[in-house]
C-alpha cells in the first residue's frame, strides 16, 4: 500500500526506502546485490540445526514425548484411532472437565469413532466462547522441542487451539519430524513454496504466565491443559 505524500515530499514508503539507501551509501542496490538476495530467497538454506534435532524412528517419538512432557503437555500413545475416545474421556473425567467436545472439521478427526464412548458428546466446527474442550489434529510434531505445528485451513479453525480450556491434539507418530526445518521442507513440498497458510502455529505445552512475582502458572489466556494423543501406526506423511 502506497501512502499519501507526507510532510517533505514523496510517499512515506519512498522516504523510508530512500533513508535506508542513504544509510547504505548507495542510491540503488547493485545487480550483484539483487542477485544475492533473490538467490537467498529462492533457495532457502538451513542454518545450524542442533544435533538434538536429528533423531529418527523410535528415538524420535520418545524424544517428542519427553520434550512435550517437559513443557507440561500430557501425552498418551495408543495403537489405533479406535482407542482415542476412551483416552480423552478418561482424561476429562480425571481433570473434572465437561466431556463436551468441539471437533475440528478435519476428516482425520471426525473419522475417529467418538460415538462409541457414551460419556462424550460432540459437535463439529469453529470454537465458541463456551466450548470447554477442542479436538484438533496437527500438521506435524517436532521432536527437537516437543512442539506441535498446526496450520489454519478449512479443517482447522485457529480459535480451537486458544479459546477452550482443554486442547486435545490427535497425531499419528508418522507425522513427527526431527526438526523445524524438516517441517518447512514438507510444507514447501506440499504446494506453492511461496504461499504459506494464513496461520502456522507452533505450540509447546499449555499456555502459561509468570507475570505475578515470577510464579509460573499454567493456563493464562489459552488452554489450561494440552493433551496429545499419539497414534502409533504407519500413516500418510505430513504433507496431506
Amino acid at each position: 500500500m502506497r501512502e499519501q505524500p507526507g510532510g517533505t515530499g514523496g510517499s512515506e514508503r519512498d522516504r523510508v526506502l530512500a533513508a535506508i539507501r542513504g544509510a547504505l551509501a548507495r542510491s540503488q542496490p547493485s545487480t550483484a546485490e539483487d542477485a544475492a538476495v533473490a538467490a537467498r530467497l529462492a533457495h532457502p538454506v538451513r542454518n545450524i540445526v542442533p544435533a538434538r534435532g536429528r533423531q529418527e524412528g523410535d528415538a524420535l517419538v520418545a524424544q517428542f514425548i519427553a520434550e512435550a512432557q517437559r513443557v507440561n503437555a500430557v501425552v498418551h500413545l495408543v495403537g489405533s484411532p479406535e482407542a482415542v475416545p476412551t483416552i480423552v474421556a478418561e482424561f476429562l473425567r480425571d481433570s473434572h472437565k465437561p466431556p463436551r467436545l468441539k471437533l475440528a472439521p478435519d476428516r482425520f478427526i471426525t473419522a475417529i469413532p467418538w460415538a462409541r464412548e457414551p460419556k462424550l458428546s460432540f459437535s463439529i466446527g469453529a470454537a465458541n466462547a463456551d466450548d470447554p474442550v477442542a479436538v484438533t489434529s496437527a500438521y506435524a510434531g517436532i521432536g527437537e522441542t516437543g512442539t506441535l505445528m498446526l496450520l489454519s485451513g478449512p479443517g482447522n479453525p485457529i480459535n480451537l487451539s486458544f479459546l477452550p480450556e482443554v486442547h486435545v491434539v490427535v497425531l499419528p507418530t508418522a507425522w513427527i519430524v526431527s526438526t523445524y526445518e524438516d517441517a518447512w521442507d514438507c510444507l514447501r513440498a506440499g504446494g506453492d513454496p511461496q504461499v504459506v497458510p494464513r496461520v502456522i502455529d507452533w505450540i509447546s505445552g499449555p499456555s502459561r504466565t509468570a507475570d505475578i512475582e515470577q510464579t509460573l502458572l499454567l493456563g493464562a489466556h489459552g488452554p489450561k491443559q494440552l493433551l496429545i494423543v499419539l497414534i502409533d501406526v504407519e500413516s500418510r506423511p505430513p504433507q496431506s
Binding site: 514508503r13 546485490e33 485457529i158 480459535n159 502456522i200 504466565t209 502458572l217 489466556h221
Partner: protein, 482 residues
C-alpha cells in the same frame, strides 16, 4: 509515553530507596539468568547459532531495502496491507485511521514495545477508543497507569500484594471481600475479565517479533496465548513492527527463534510461536477480515548509517537487562522510557537524542556481561562508550565531568606534575582512611561515598611501587622473573 530519561540520577535515587521495588528486583535477579543458563547447557550449538544469527542479520541490514520490498510484495499478495511510517506520529495517525474506519470501540492489545514507543494507548484513549492490554503483566501495568519496567516482564517491579490491590480497585464486579492472596486466583480473575475483552474487541493490535520476506509472514511469540486471541478473534488485526525486524526465510526466522526464548526466559521455545500471513482466506471459518502491518522507521534508518548499526540486530530478548548490575539495582522505570538496561541505554539516546538521554550510557559499569549474554553478539559496551564520547563532544556532559576530565588530561600529559599530584593525593587518602582502611567521606566525591566506602589506597603510588620493584628485581637472574 513521556520520556524522563534526563532525570535518570533522580529516578535511580528514588529506586534505590524503594523497598518494595528492591524486594522485587532481588526476586527477579534469581530468576531469568539461572533458567537461561540451564537452557543453554541443553544446547551445545548455542554459540554457533549466535554467530549464524548475527551474520544473517548483518546480511539483512546491508540489503534492508530489498528484503522489505519483498516482504511487502508477499504480504500484499496474501491480502494484507503494509503501511510505511517514517515516524511515531505517522504511525499513530495511521492506526487511528484504521480503527476509525473499522468503527472500533474496544481494542484488544497484545504486548508491543513499539506500541509503547508510540505512546499508542494514550493516543487511542484520547481519540475515544478503549484499548485493553491483554498480556497479564502489561494489563496490570495499564490498570496502575504505569509503564512496563522490563521489555518481556512488564510488571516485574510489582509484588503480588500490589497486583491484588489493583485488581480490587478495577474489578468491581467481584465481591469486595474476596480472597486475593494467591497468584492463581488473581490469574483466573484476569482471565475471565480479559476473555470478555477479546470477545468484544473490534480491532486487535499486536507487535511482531520477526517479519519473513520469503513469505510475507509476521511472527508473534507469546506464552499466554493472548497474542493469538488478539490477532484471530477481532475482525481487524493491526501488527506493528519496526523495519529491522525482517529476515529472509523461514529457516532464518527459525534460527532466531532457537535463540529468543532461551535467552529471554530460559524456555527452549515459547509456548506459542505464530506465523501470520494475511487475513482470513475464503475457505476458513475464523480469523480477521483485514490484516494491516505498520512498518515503522522512527529513527532506525539513522542508526543503520551509523556506528550503531549492530544494535539493529536486537531481537528484544532482554538477556542484557536480566544480567545488568545497574538494572538489577534500580529497575526499569529509572531509565525513563520504553526500553531499559544496556539495550535501552543504547537505543534511547539513538531514538530520542543524546541531549535527552545522555545519562543512560553513563549508567553502566561497562562490566561486559551484556555483550557476553547477547544472543546477537551486539557490542553493547563499545556502543555505550561511543555514546559517552558523543555526549562529551557535543558538550552535553555535566560540568563537573567536563572539568574533571580536562583536569585529568592536563595532569596525565605532564609526567612530573602527575607524579607529584598522585603522591599528594595518595598521602591525603592514607590520612583519610587511616583508621579502617576505608574512606567514608571524600571532598567533591560525596556522590560516591554517600552510598558506599572507597577503599583506601595501598599507601604508595603505582610509579613508586614500580620503581621499588625494578630495583629489587634487577639483581635477580632473568630466568626466574615472570
Amino acid at each position: 509515553m513521556r520520556a524522563t530519561a534526563h532525570l535518570f540520577p533522580t529516578n535511580a535515587e528514588h529506586a534505590l530507596r524503594d523497598g518494595k521495588l528492591q524486594a522485587s528486583l532481588a526476586r527477579f535477579q534469581q530468576g531469568f539468568p539461572v533458567k537461561r543458563q540451564a537452557a543453554i547447557e541443553r544446547l551445545p550449538e548455542f554459540d554457533a547459532l549466535r554467530d549464524a544469527a548475527a551474520a544473517m542479520k548483518d546480511h539483512v541490514l546491508a540489503h534492508l531495502d530489498l528484503y522489505l520490498e519483498r516482504f511487502e510484495e508477499r504480504l500484499t499478495a496474501a491480502g494484507g496491507q503494509v503501511h510505511w511510517c517514517t515516524d511515531a506520529e505517522s504511525a499513530r495517525q495511521t492506526i487511528v485511521r484504521i480503527c476509525r474506519e473499522a468503527g472500533a470501540r474496544t481494542i484488544a492489545k497484545g504486548k508491543s514495545m513499539i506500541g509503547e514507543e508510540l505512546g499508542l494507548n494514550e493516543r487511542l484513549e484520547k481519540e475515544g477508543f478503549r484499548p485493553i492490554e491483554t498480556d497479564l503483566g502489561e494489563y496490570i501495568v495499564q490498570l496502575r497507569e504505569e509503564s512496563p519496567s522490563h521489555i518481556i516482564a512488564p510488571a516485574i517491579h510489582l509484588s503480588k500484594e500490589q497486583v491484588a490491590e489493583s485488581f480490587r480497585k478495577a474489578h468491581t464486579e467481584f465481591a469486595a471481600d474476596r480472597r486475593l492472596e494467591d497468584p492463581r486466583v488473581m490469574l483466573d480473575e484476569a482471565r475471565s475479565v480479559l476473555r470478555r475483552a477479546f470477545l468484544s474487541a473490534d480491532v486487535g493490535i499486536t507487535g511482531a517479533n520477526i517479519l519473513i520476506a520469503e513469505t510475507g509472514t509476521m511472527v508473534l511469540v507469546t506464552n499466554e496465548g493472548n497474542g493469538d486471541l488478539t490477532q484471530n478473534l477481532p475482525p481487524v488485526h493491526i501488527a506493528i513492527a519496526s523495519i529491522e525486524k525482517v529476515v529472509p526465510t523461514l529457516e532464518d526466522a527459525t534460527t532466531l527463534l532457537r535463540l529468543l526464548a532461551r535467552s529471554a526466559t530460559g524456555q527452549d521455545m515459547s509456548v506459542y510461536t505464530t506465523f501470520i500471513t494475511g487475513p482470513r482466506r475464503a475457505d476458513e471459518l475464523d480469523g480477521p477480515r483485514a490484516t494491516h502491518l505498520i512498518l515503522l522507521d522512527n529513527g532506525r534508518t539513522g542508526m543503520l548509517g551509523s556506528e550503531f548499526r549492530e544494535m539493529l540486530r536486537c531481537i528484544r530478548c532482554g538477556a542484557c537487562i536480566n544480567h545488568c548490575p545497574v538494572y538489577g539495582a534500580v529497575g526499569g522505570h529509572a531509565y525513563g522510557w520504553v526500553y531499559s538496561g544496556p539495550m535501552g541505554s543504547v537505543l534511547i539516546p539513538n531514538l530520542i537524542g543524546v541531549a535527552q538521554a545522555g545519562h543512560l550510557p553513563n549508567a553502566s559499569t561497562l562490566c561486559g556481561r551484556c555483550e557476553e549474554v547477547c544472543p546477537m553478539r551486539i557490542p553493547l559496551p563499545r556502543m555505550l562508550r561511543s555514546l559517552r564520547e558523543r555526549q562529551f563532544d557535543q558538550h552535553l556532559a555535566p560540568r563537573p565531568l567536563r572539568y574533571g576530565l580536562a583536569g585529568w588530561a592536563m595532569l596525565a600529559t605532564r609526567p612530573a606534575l602527575y607524579r607529584l599530584a598522585t603522591r599528594i593525593a595518595v598521602g591525603l587518602a592514607r590520612v583519610l582512611g587511616r583508621s579502617k582502611g576505608r574512606i567514608r567521606w571524600l571532598p567533591l566525591a560525596s556522590g560516591w561515598t554517600r552510598a558506599r566506602d572507597l577503599p583506601a589506597p595501598a599507601g604508595r603510588t603505582f610509579h613508586d611501587l614500580w620503581r621499588a620493584r625494578e630495583k629489587c628485581s634487577s639483581g635477580v637472574t632473568s630466568g626466574t622473573r615472570r
